[in-house]
């Protein structure tokens, strides 16, 4: 290859597989790395945690290592009960991610199916969408409060509440995309060549909508983590001594003026997870959406 022959990378791009195009975007690549590290830390929390996340000690409110009085024994310092914040971050991230994944997964699948069905079968449309409207009228936090009142505090009621809260938004997005897809000529062409409903639904409708739904879900993932953290912040999500990022931030609130790291570190962690999820969601859309491919 001589210098005189510049290689046009962009021209090559469409032919590359989607994941190669994804990692060529530096922001997305960084987000992917960060998220991978976070997920690995969460999965292997019991192996990598330097201390028992539930054991309190008399060393309360120890500053993190970057502060003057910090020590490597507790790299992120300790909280108001003398528990190691780094270990709690590992465990807390685990629960936070689990709450986010389960609720977005459940709500996303259910919501998308409802939305696509409404567009695919116009007869069902008013029924499905009115149901969705009813669900939309319950704010996620209120729903969480109600479920916790019935089942008691814990991660499961929060997951159910967040899943239910994800359904209507997801259904609306899926429907709006599906309605425009249904008007495309290739759908009619598919019908004309005698494709079955199932094939039409999966191969034509779903495949043309999935990228937009995925981007919505990945953006929603960030929001759900935030709402989940908010519910835990209010004392509804995780139950002590469990660690959850929102709850850790709430517990640190009392020390904000004196030992800000107790609240700031979990909050930064929430911020990083949400930011990485959003950046990655955006990048996924760029590489997956057929309409953006040209």
């Amino acid at each position: 290859m001589s210098i005189a022959e510049p290689v046009d990378l962009d021209a090559l791009a469409p032919s590359l597989p989607w994941w190669r195009r994804l990692v060529r975007d530096p922001a997305a690549f960084l987000a992917l790395i960060v998220l991978t590290i976070i997920v690995l830390c969460a999965i292997f929390a019991p192996l990598i945690s330097p201390h028992d996340p539930y054991a309190s000690s008399r060393a309360v409110m120890q500053p993190p290592v970057w502060s003057d009085r910090g020590a490597w024994l507790h790299p992120f310092g300790t909280d108001g009960q003398g528990r190691d914040i780094l270990s709690r971050i590992f465990y807390g991230t685990r629960l936070t991610l689990l709450i986010g994944l389960v609720s977005v997964g459940l709500g996303g699948v259910l919501g998308s199916l409802l939305g696509l069905l409404a567009a695919f079968r116009p007869r069902l449309d008013p029924w499905v969408m009115r149901l969705v409207d009813v669900m939309l009228s319950f704010p996620a936090i209120l729903l969480g409060l109600a479920l916790v009142a019935v089942f008691g505090p814990g991660a499961i009621p929060v997951m159910i509440a967040l899943a239910i809260a994800t359904v209507p938004d997801c259904a609306r997005i899926a429907r709006s995309i599906a309605v425009s897809v249904m008007k495309q000529e290739y759908i009619e062409a598919g019908r004309a060549v005698g494709l079955s409903d199932l094939a039409l639904f999966t191969r034509y409708l779903l495949r043309n909508c999935i990228s937009s739904i995925l981007i919505f879900i990945s953006l929603r993932f960030g929001q759900i983590i935030l709402i989940g953290a908010a519910l835990s912040f209010l004392g509804l999500g995780a139950k002590p001594p469990q660690a959850e990022l929102g709850m850790m931030a709430a517990q640190g609130r009392d020390f904000l003026l004196f030992a800000p790291h107790i609240a700031v570190i979990p909050s930064v962690m929430i911020f990083v997870i949400v930011l990485a999820a959003n950046v990655l969601g955006d990048a996924l859309r760029d590489v997956l959406d057929p309409r953006l491919r040209s």
């Binding site: 009960q81 002590p240 003026l257």
Partner: protein
């Protein structure tokens, strides 16, 4: 015209030089109303003491009864009849003179079943309260009540104006209140602020006040600021002049601040504890309750969670309280986790592979109901961590105050967190350990005939020695049975602006500023 402008300018500038005698007190919560017979919150008491007067007053030493609107009183030998001689110079805020009729009306309304006062028992078993003449009241009991004078110092015994109660109906203590205290009701915005103004005619303050009236402050605003860091900042920046609601963590900083002074009194009787519902399988074994008492390090909790600002509690009432049984001082259960484990082993509670003990199919996983919020959050998590060390997995369930009281009246929990103010041992014991008070406030289901008998003996005692002996015996019984896990005694800490004369915190019902008569800007 020029002169007029100048005069106006001077007039406008003047208030800036002379310090306006107005202060803002920040506090954590509001009361649901200010009817002395229906409101039991500390938030109500601290305003009611300023708005109204009681027959007798409690000295800041928390032991001595001093005059209030009654300048003297006699107790009959059988302890059944109290005769109060009222001052003849007491006036309500609307200018009406207070007479024996008002006192009789107030007490009668307090104990009237129709009032549904949750604190009616505090007035004793009232047979009748009558006005003998304009300034003499006869208070008749059907059985002696050794605590009566102490109870009458509380805000529940505030003398109210019958015309005011009847005029306002359900809105009494909500839209207005005509009292005879050093301050008068101006305006209340629930959950925001309560504004009260000086009662100019007031001159009948109790003798232990440096100022018996009228108050030095012209206006006091009780401002609700739920967030504790915000209250600290309000004090530091001068938006509030005084408060008793400062977080323990901020006290060291406030003590160093040149604009703030911190005053502390250890005569405060406000105790935090966790109780056991003793008929629940998890905690019915006294060995378990004893072990839990031994497993928790109250001293470390007081130092680490509350920065040494509270007193670790090993006794159910403060050891400085009236009628505390000093014989128990050496028998109190203190931190000894090895002994706790030994007791549980000996009692047959075997440690499982998951670190939780069990016996006969019962796992040591007591459910603990606590109030949601940072205080009980940190207390309960700390206790939970200590109990983990002895194989007890306490399950914390926190409820918002709006539902917590209802939940705490059920039989669904094994342990519960609670804190309470009291004036004496008898006050605390009669409230929590009488079998007739099940299921609430006797949430332990402590049902013991001997306790009931001794409490009755203490309550109806005619002399101090009998009363002290009876209550002392009850204290011994309940401490032996380890019915509670005492946690800490909260002292009264008031943080005030250095511009104010140093206050003497009062501890009655946790209302640190009491009547507000001693609040005064430095000259």
């Amino acid at each position: 015209m020029k002169r007029l402008t100048l005069t106006t300018a001077v007039a406008l500038a003047l208030p800036a030089f002379a310090q306006a005698a107005e202060i803002t007190v920040v506090r954590e919560v509001d009361s649901n109303n200010y009817d002395p017979h229906r409101a039991v919150a500390r938030a109500a008491a601290e305003v009611l003491f300023m708005l109204g007067d009681t027959l007798v007053s409690l000295n800041p030493d928390m032991q001595t009864i001093e005059p209030g609107v009654a300048e003297s009183w006699d107790v009959s030998d059988d302890g059944l009849t109290y005769t109060f001689n009222l001052r003849d110079d007491v006036y309500f805020c609307d200018g009406k003179q207070m007479t024996a009729e008002d006192v009789a009306y107030s007490i009668t309304r307090w104990v009237d079943p129709e009032t549904k006062s949750p604190v009616a028992w505090r007035a004793g078993d009232v047979e009748s309260v009558t006005a003998v003449n304009e300034f003499t009241v006869e208070y008749k009991l059907s059985e002696p009540f050794s605590e009566l004078l102490y109870q009458l110092t509380q805000s529940f015994g505030t003398i109210i104006d019958s015309a005011n109660v009847e005029a306002l109906g359900e809105d009494f203590g909500v839209s207005g209140f005509n009292g005879s205290g050093p301050f008068c009701w101006v305006e209340w915005t629930p959950r925001d602020k309560m504004i009260i103004e000086r009662h100019e005619a007031y001159s009948w303050g109790a003798p232990f006040h440096t100022n018996t009236g009228p108050a030095s402050m012209e206006k006091i605003t009780w401002q609700v600021v739920p967030e504790e860091n915000t209250r600290t900042v309000a004090l530091l920046t001068g938006q509030s002049e005084i408060t008793q609601y400062v977080p323990d963590i901020a006290l060291a900083q406030l003590r160093d601040a040149p604009t703030v002074e911190v005053v502390r009194s250890d005569l405060a009787f406000w105790t935090y504890f966790m109780g056991f519902k003793i008929d629940k399988a998890t905690v019915s074994d006294p060995a378990v309750r004893q072990a839990i008492n031994l497993a928790v390090d109250q001293t470390a909790m007081a130092e680490d969670l509350f920065f040494g600002e509270v007193e670790p509690a090993y006794s159910y009432v403060s050891q400085g309280a009236l009628d505390w049984n000093t014989a128990l001082d050496d028998t109190l259960l203190t931190y000894d986790p090895d002994e706790a484990n030994r007791i549980l082993d000996e009692a047959g509670w075997e440690l499982g592979s998951d670190g939780v003990r069990s016996k006969d199919g019962v796992r040591l996983e007591p459910i603990a109901y606590v109030f949601a919020g940072s205080t009980w959050g940190k207390i309960s998590e700390s206790v939970q961590a200590y109990l983990r060390e002895i194989g007890v997995a306490m399950d914390i369930q926190a409820f918002d105050a709006t539902v917590a009281w209802g939940r705490l009246a059920t039989q669904e929990f094994d342990m519960f967190g609670m804190s309470f103010p009291y004036v004496s041992s008898g006050d605390a014991l009669n409230l929590y350990f009488r079998s007739e008070n099940m299921p609430t406030p006797n949430r332990m289901n402590w049902n013991d005939a001997q306790t009931d008998e001794l409490l009755q003996a203490g309550k109806t005692a005619l002399d101090d020695a009998t009363r002290a002996e009876s209550y002392g015996a009850v204290l011994e019984i309940v401490h032996d049975a380890a019915v509670w896990l005492p946690l800490y005694h909260e002292p009264m800490v008031v943080a005030q602006s250095a511009d104010l004369e140093t206050v003497v915190p009062h501890n009655i019902y946790g209302a640190g500023l009491y009547k507000g008569l001693d609040l005064k800007f430095k000259e």
